[in-house]
Symmetry: C2
């Protein structure tokens, strides 16, 4: 085994904390520092947040200070969903010669909605010989990379339909809040118009698949609709009165002039008992795949970001996608 891979994690939300824990379990990784913008965490020890005891890993407020001091090979950015919000952090990492893995949903396939920013990141990453990758479970796996990989056994693909139904009652508070639980219908719709609600990354998943399958999609129709509670509900974090928002259905449909080629449906609801993931490929051979109970997203996102590290470091330089890395798997190292 060669030297341990040096890593910094940015963002101490739930995903960031779980990422740190998983990296600390891996013999071949070395977690050097963590960064969080919360000033109350500055200069404290990461261990206090993870295990209530010190482990000698410092929390920085300033990413550049951490990059300068530790010169990591990989920085994991877990903080934000919008690419514009983490672009400065990505550029800082690149300038300090660190590759980047991020759960930022828009980074999965930023070459459409964030074209100029994506090109800038790509050019800079190539200049500094580092790799930048957006990944996770959704986007990153279940509604994009996995369906795409399934098409590798097809001699023809006519259309793809992907459904993910998530039992939101079991998920973290930040996610329940993001979906708008307990809002009124009009509050929900206002936030949808302001692009403050919905699943960031669904359009990117659709664009990712469409791009690599050379689908001649002319339009992506996106819609976000609320489900309203038929009686009073409560989750661990929210009381949901009858008639208020208990979930949402977020759909992206990709069409060419004559037909539907791609349909991504994401339902996240606090009132369902069993979630599932389903991928249906109308192709030769046809494929209908179902994952019972669905993939639990938080755990899976953390795992993917960590498991993919060696694959990232062996990929080409630049802003890459999940299609540019070798087939990843659980890292038992």
């Amino acid at each position: 085994m060669s030297a341990k891979i040096k890593i910094i994690v940015v963002g101490l939300g739930q995903i960031g904390i779980e990422t740190c824990k998983l990296i600390l379990q891996k013999k071949s990784f070395n977690l050097l520092a963590v960064v969080d913008i919360d000033p109350s965490k500055a200069d404290k020890d990461l261990g206090e947040f993870l295990y209530k005891k010190k482990i000698g890993i410092k929390i920085f407020n300033d990413l550049k200070a951490a990059l300068k001091e530790f010169q990591p090979e990989v920085t994991i950015l877990t903080s934000k969903s919008r690419l514009s919000e983490i672009a400065n952090d990505i550029f800082s990492c690149i300038e300090y010669h660190s590759s980047v893995i991020s759960s930022c949903e828009e980074l999965l396939f930023p070459f459409k909605k964030n074209k100029s920013l994506a090109e800038e990141i790509d050019a800079k990453a190539k200049e500094y010989f580092v790799h930048v990758l957006g990944t996770g479970v959704n986007p990153g796996f279940i509604m994009d990379t996995l369906p795409l990989f399934l098409t590798s056994i097809c001699s023809d693909v006519k259309s793809i339909k992907i459904s993910r139904v998530v039992d939101l009652s079991k998920r973290r508070k930040a996610l329940q809040q993001k979906i708008g639980l307990s809002l009124t219908k009009s509050e929900f719709q206002k936030l949808v118009r302001e692009k403050k609600i919905g699943h960031v990354g669904l359009l990117e998943s659709a664009q990712f698949i469409s791009h690599y399958l050379n689908f001649d999609i002319t339009d992506f129709d996106e819609s976000i609709k609320p489900y309203l509670a038929d009686k009073n509900y409560k989750t661990k974090f929210f009381n949901i009165p009858k008639g208020t928002v208990i979930g949402m259905k977020h759909t992206v449909i990709g069409k060419n002039k004559t037909k539907k080629l791609l349909e991504l449906i994401l339902e996240m609801r606090a009132d369902i008992v069993k979630g599932f993931d389903e991928i249906v490929i109308d192709g030769n051979p046809p494929i209908k795949l179902k994952i019972e109970n669905g993939i639990f997203g938080d755990t899976a996102t953390v795992a993917m970001m960590v498991n993919v590290i060696p694959n990232l470091l062996h990929a080409r330089y630049g802003l890459i996608t999940m299609k540019d890395i070798n087939i990843p798997s659980f890292l038992n190292i």
Copy 2:
């Protein structure tokens, strides 16, 4: 688009013929010649076998003659299941600077059962800067690469169970024959002892997964058992009297000292209505995935061999595996 990729296909069985047809559909590939050992096909035109009309692609009896004349970038070997039977062809390809893709089942992961031959092929492929890959759907995808890829979203993997149940009545004659349909139980068992029956590649699939997950498996137990017909049956190719072989159950179990880590079960039967594929990962998160009706193997094997061509040419040199290539997908080119 750069110049078309130059390809030769070896073996004009059903898999070889379908491979030729699929390559001919791709704008970015150029099928230069095909090779088959059957002297009656020598110097004929491939089109006579595919479409009953000439297409200007010659059938060679001698691989070296075809390699010398056309200098392909990729040769697809569809002929044999055992690595020793195609090793000479692989070496010929390498010496003529052609990369190799093969449906040879033992080539999926030859580093255990065929260790010295694998090392020889690897060294030679590196010397000549070419790539050699074994793939298909089983082995190649459903019982190895797909389950391995699924573990990329796991922060822990305790054990994996993979079941493939195939409706043999719909499959090609060669496969029905290989499974021993209509044999007596003792004829079947004799052929099992002579290693003439069973699914070649199941052990390789298990070794592939175990290797990349660093499972500490000390023993692989392999068993092949017949299913006997409970009444008279018939397929398109065989009459199966009551009491004779109507299918088989081939199992590979990988254990360490204390527990079962890996279980691969392949049932191929002419008396079942619906096949399926199932992958169960006891991990975090747990994953239970089912493919309704199962993947139709013949079509899928051909598709994978063709779809994977660009991935192969971008991989490292040597004898590589499905873990060494970028995530493949349907080639719409």
